[in-house]
Symmetry: C2
Subunit: 335 residues, 2 copies
């Protein structure tokens, strides 16, 4: 492409839109699963499907461990995966600020395409809009996704019962702290990397145990907020033990420096698994058997019923405190 | 909601996000078709489905004949309809600028919900992001949609043959000129209103004739650009007659004042229908029989084969000129 920056004409629907599609967008997605990229894609479905959407407005666009493209693929793939669906098709909607470098757009779309392809999902339809300089911060991406739910899959907070155990698939807060340290120019002795990853492989491996009650990915609002939602939706009391929640030393250090709590930091490649108590070892072994689950831990259990739901944290010193949903803004544009 | 403006905390995933969902978003969509609004919605599919997405960045958000909510519903419903699918499910992704009035958001979501419901589509999943003041222009909306394609439906440019007729369902350029006059503060003797409308009812009525070869909605880039795409994709020469293209007098006047061509103005409630010549009267009668198709006209036909595709316009004075795709930016943020 001769011009190296996005202009308003790239969003006109005319000749430059066509060139952007042919020279930048098709090369990234064109060969993805053999699906032609169309205004409306078609597919044949054969059963229970899942449908989800997420927009991504993260700043900065590139961070240690990923970029907005990888994030946009993972976010929607993970929403499908934790709802028990095998991710099949993705749509990609781009909102681009005039002046954005086309080379960066190419890199981001390639990253999105690679992540989707590795996870077995095909990008099949898309849309591009361009807004004037100053009316967006470089690039926002929306992805919607369609997945196939295996027959017999019954996941959800309604199934949570007293006695169930709570497992996390790895360390908490990596994504939030990686993006934050990238923004603030913080450096630690070890490089902090976002955990941004597609979870469908891990989820599939874990689901084969047949002992999963419910799954959720603790993104915005972190582990604490996601558990509060689950407790509320299931009408249960959940108790977790602070010492058993895996957190990387650099994340703990960063949180101490910034007065933040890793339980409220976003994750983009972790899953909370609620499983039957009698199968907890089998489930934990399945999670740990997957490369993305090697730091998995049982962090607590469901201890009682409460209509409004409650999450209790047993702290390092043995005290118990009530965890609440995230209040205030915390970290804007973390995903 | 006590606070009357969107804050960054409304996008945090925490307590205020929950309140926004419960007090603003659920009331708009909660009862839509009885579907619960979930992170990932599920549905049972039973055949060939269509999947599409569009982002909407129109400025201003409210215009004569509609608003961004109505537009976001119509745009995706129409993409599904012209691909031969019955629109079933929509997702809604919001990117909101900090400081946006919640009352306006409510109005827009209600408008989106009403339009979807009238068209028989259910909003089943969604996402909300908030960006800092100055990093978006008030509100951008992405919708993705899933539709059911009737068995046996075979629509597309590959089916276009020499002899087929070209029909438009009504006047051209209403949306583009309505938005433009709203922006520029132009006034005409009659109020210009956007044609923004869900076309699935009209398309269904027309499809029943069994004589449709291909359909397309001439949005960004207008009739001329859309026909150029169709001619190129089908490898045909299309000839249309300027005098037969319906254009409202106020649109003609506005175009003359502003040096614009109605053939390149966006439409949001019109469809181009390529139909078999021997059934043209039956198809035209079907279009005209629908309230959205009363101004329909046969505007030309497919006259030959050409690998690169070509669209010829016979002008009012009898000359023929080649129509090209829209070049340059024309009207940014028209949808």
């Amino acid at each position: 492409m001769k011009r190296d920056k996005i202009t308003l004409a790239h969003g006109s629907g005319g000749k430059l839109s066509q060139r952007l599609i042919e020279e930048v967008i098709y090369p990234a997605f064109g060969s993805n699963g053999g699906h032609e990229l169309l205004d409306a894609a078609s597919f044949t479905a054969w059963g229970k499907m899942a449908f989800t959407t997420d927009s991504f407005v993260i700043s900065p666009l590139f961070f240690s461990g990923g970029d907005i493209g990888k994030l946009a693929a993972c976010g929607t793939i993970n929403d499908l995966a934790v709802s028990g669906a095998e991710p099949l098709f993705l749509s990609v909607g781009l909102i681009i600020e005039e002046g954005f470098e086309i080379s960066k757009l190419q890199k981001i779309l390639q990253s999105l395409a690679n992540t989707a392809e590795t996870a077995g999902a095909a990008v099949v339809t898309g849309d591009t809009k361009v807004v004037e300089r100053g009316n967006a911060d470089k690039l926002y991406i929306n992805t919607a996704g369609i997945g196939l739910i295996s027959p017999g899959t019954q996941l959800g907070p309604a199934n949570i019962e007293v006695g169930d155990v709570i497992i996390v698939s790895g360390t908490m807060g990596d994504h939030g702290m990686a993006v934050l340290s990238c923004r603030e120019g913080l450096s630690f002795e070890t490089v902090l990397t976002s955990d941004c990853a597609a979870l469908n492989g891990l989820v599939e491996a874990v689901s084969r145990t047949g002992s999963i009650v419910c799954m959720r990915d603790p993104t915005r609002g972190g582990l604490a907020t996601t558990l509060c939602e689950l407790a509320e939706q299931s009408g249960t009391v959940m108790e977790i033990i602070e010492d058993q929640v895996p957190v990387k030393p650099a994340v703990t250090l960063g949180c101490a420096m910034l007065g933040m709590d890793p339980l409220y930091l976003a994750n983009e490649g972790k899953v909370i698994i609620i499983a039957k108590n009698q199968s907890k070892e089998k489930v934990l072994t399945a999670v740990k058997g997957h490369p993305l689950g090697s730091d998995a831990q049982i962090i607590g259990k469901v201890t009682g019923r409460d209509q409004g739901g409650a999450v209790l944290l047993e702290t390092t010193v043995g005290a118990k405190r009530l965890l609440r949903r995230l209040e205030g803004e915390h970290l804007p544009r973390i995903c």
